[in-house]
């Protein structure tokens, strides 16, 4: 009880001290909160994207086989289906027929995929396209074929908004329509998806495919998954680069505040020592001074970041994430909080701040109690 009372008494005094320099401390709180908010937003966003990717893409094809010609991705002859099927351990090989269509009306790229169960003349579109073009069920959309003439498809269905993270820009049409649109000959597909009997043999089978068909490039599902593990880490993330500027500014600010113990503060520490405070009491007071600012900023910042990313769909990152995308998917990420990251953020923001507050006072707090009498 006595210990708690002591903490509360010292905290009372600290708060009175903080309130005396209101504008300075409010500025500090705002800057600190903004920094935690930005860092935590980046962490939450990338963490959630990665988690969602790892869950969703577990259903991706086990192996995708692309054909390379003269250093470019090129069409795959269907004869390769038989060649690969003959490899021991392969259970299924299917051609994937997909590509991109640039829509000059809105300046957006769509991903077109040929599906078996689509009726010719109709298409299923992703929610993003529906939004960008204002297309709804039974509406028609005109495409320019490879020959330069127009052809139209009717929207038969719109993919659900919940699946937008994978389907926003998709257009599903029949195989015949796909070939007519792009002038792609029968017997050619974009690439192949391969299913194997035993997933432990994936690497061996991929190697065999590469050996038998030297002009192909197999991509294993693990590689797809790893692509997203590393996503946004690129160049340590442009965001972090941008943020480091503000982090630096904050460090300077905190340093200035912490180390520049004013004459006024020095005098106060002298008074406290003279009226019977121990060195440890003074340091306790300084600890609380750092803790009050940094703990409140941390908690407020991290909560705001959560709201920003998972309720407001990261609106502030929009400009950075959208880039040149006209067709930006609206997705609500499934909240995922990585405790490791949160504690790392805590350790990297709160701890240094408290240290920066206590350390400069160390010397001042070890002055002799009678210093104030001698001065």
């Amino acid at each position: 009880m006595e210990w708690i009372e002591k903490q509360r008494n010292v905290l009372d005094f600290t708060l009175s001290s903080i309130l005396r320099r209101k504008s300075k401390n409010i500025a500090l709180f705002v800057v600190f909160t903004a920094m935690v908010f930005l860092l935590a937003s980046v962490l939450f966003f990338t963490g959630a994207i990665k988690k969602e990717a790892s869950q969703l893409l577990r259903a991706a094809p086990e192996i995708v086989v692309q054909r390379m010609q003269a250093g470019r991705h090129t069409l795959m002859p269907l004869t390769a289906v038989d060649t690969i099927s003959a490899i021991r351990g392969v259970s299924k090989v299917e051609g994937r027929l997909w590509g991109y269509y640039f829509d000059p009306v809105v300046g957006a790229n769509y991903t077109l995929i040929a599906v078996k169960d689509a009726l010719p003349g109709t298409m299923v579109i992703g929610n993003g396209i529906s939004r960008a073009r204002g297309l709804y069920k039974d509406d028609m959309m005109t495409f320019r074929t490879y020959l330069g003439d127009n052809t139209a498809f009717m929207v038969s269905e719109i993919l659900s908004a919940e699946s937008e993270l994978v389907s926003s820009d998709l257009m599903l049409i029949s195989e015949q329509d796909f070939r007519n649109l792009f002038g792609m000959k029968e017997g050619l597909v974009t690439d192949l998806s391969v299913t194997v009997k035993n997933s432990r043999e994936l690497a061996t089978i991929a190697q065999k495919i590469a050996d038998i068909l030297p002009d192909t490039r197999p991509i294993i599902r693990d590689e797809i998954l790893r692509t997203y593990e590393g996503a946004f880490d690129w160049r340590s993330g442009i965001m972090v680069v941008l943020l480091s500027g503000s982090v630096l500014a904050f460090v300077i600010f905190a340093w200035d505040k912490g180390s520049g113990l004013s004459a006024e503060e020095r005098r106060e520490i002298g008074i406290l020592k003279a009226i019977g405070w121990e060195t440890s009491d003074v340091l306790l007071m300084k600890f609380w001074e750092g803790a009050v600012i940094s703990l409140s900023s941390f908690l407020v910042g991290i909560t705001l970041a959560y709201l920003h990313v998972f309720f407001a769909s990261s609106v502030l990152f929009g400009p950075a994430l959208k880039g040149w995308s006209v067709l930006y998917p609206h997705f609500r990420l499934t909240p995922a909080i990585d405790f490791y990251q949160v504690s790392a953020l805590f350790i990297l923001t709160v701890m240094p701040y408290i240290t920066a507050t206590i350390l400069p006072s160390w010397r001042a707090s070890t002055i002799d109690p009678d210093a104030i009498m001698r001065s």
């Binding site: 509360r8 008494n9 905290l11 708060l15 009175s16 994207i49 969602e52 869950q55 259903a59 991706a60 094809p61 390379m68 250093g71 470019r72 991705h73 994937r96 991109y100 790229n109 991903t111 995929i113 993003g128 993919l159 659900s160 919940e162 699946s163 993270l165 994978v166 389907s167 926003s168 998709l170 690439d191 490039r217 991509i219 294993i220 590689e223 797809i224 790893r226 692509t227 997203y228 590393g230 996503a231 946004f232 690129w234 160049r235 965001m239 703990l295 409140s296 908690l299 909560t303 994430l321 880039g323 040149w324 995308s325 006209v326 067709l327 998917p329 499934t334 909240p335 995922a336 909080i337």
Partner: protein
């Protein structure tokens, strides 16, 4: 009149409570999101999808895992990007390792 330390502890406690609510929210939504994930996952399986639809402006940002070595990253895997979102995405790991040799 309430003590200053009392007011602060109250403030801090309410911050912690709100923060815990976000954790609870994340936890509850996690269960709720299973259906949503299952739906998208079904789509991924049926359509043999390989990538998330985050950046749609270029082939290699729309389907980074399918990108080939030279065209997407223009002249070099670490080249400055024509499309801004390219700078947020890393070239796939498999391109950086065995794709280079």
């Amino acid at each position: 009149m309430i003590r200053k330390s009392g007011a602060f502890i109250l403030f801090l406690a309410s911050c912690i409570v709100v923060f815990c609510f976000t954790l609870l929210h994340a936890y509850l939504l996690h269960d709720k999101s299973i259906d949503k994930i299952a739906l998208s996952k079904g789509l991924v399986r049926d359509l043999a999808l390989t990538d998330l639809c985050i950046f749609t402006e270029a082939r290699y940002t729309r389907h980074p895992s399918m990108a080939d070595l030279h065209t997407p990253f223009q002249d070099h895997p670490t080249a400055m990007e024509h499309f801004p979102s390219g700078s947020l995405l890393q070239p796939p790991a498999h391109l950086q390792s065995h794709g280079m040799d």
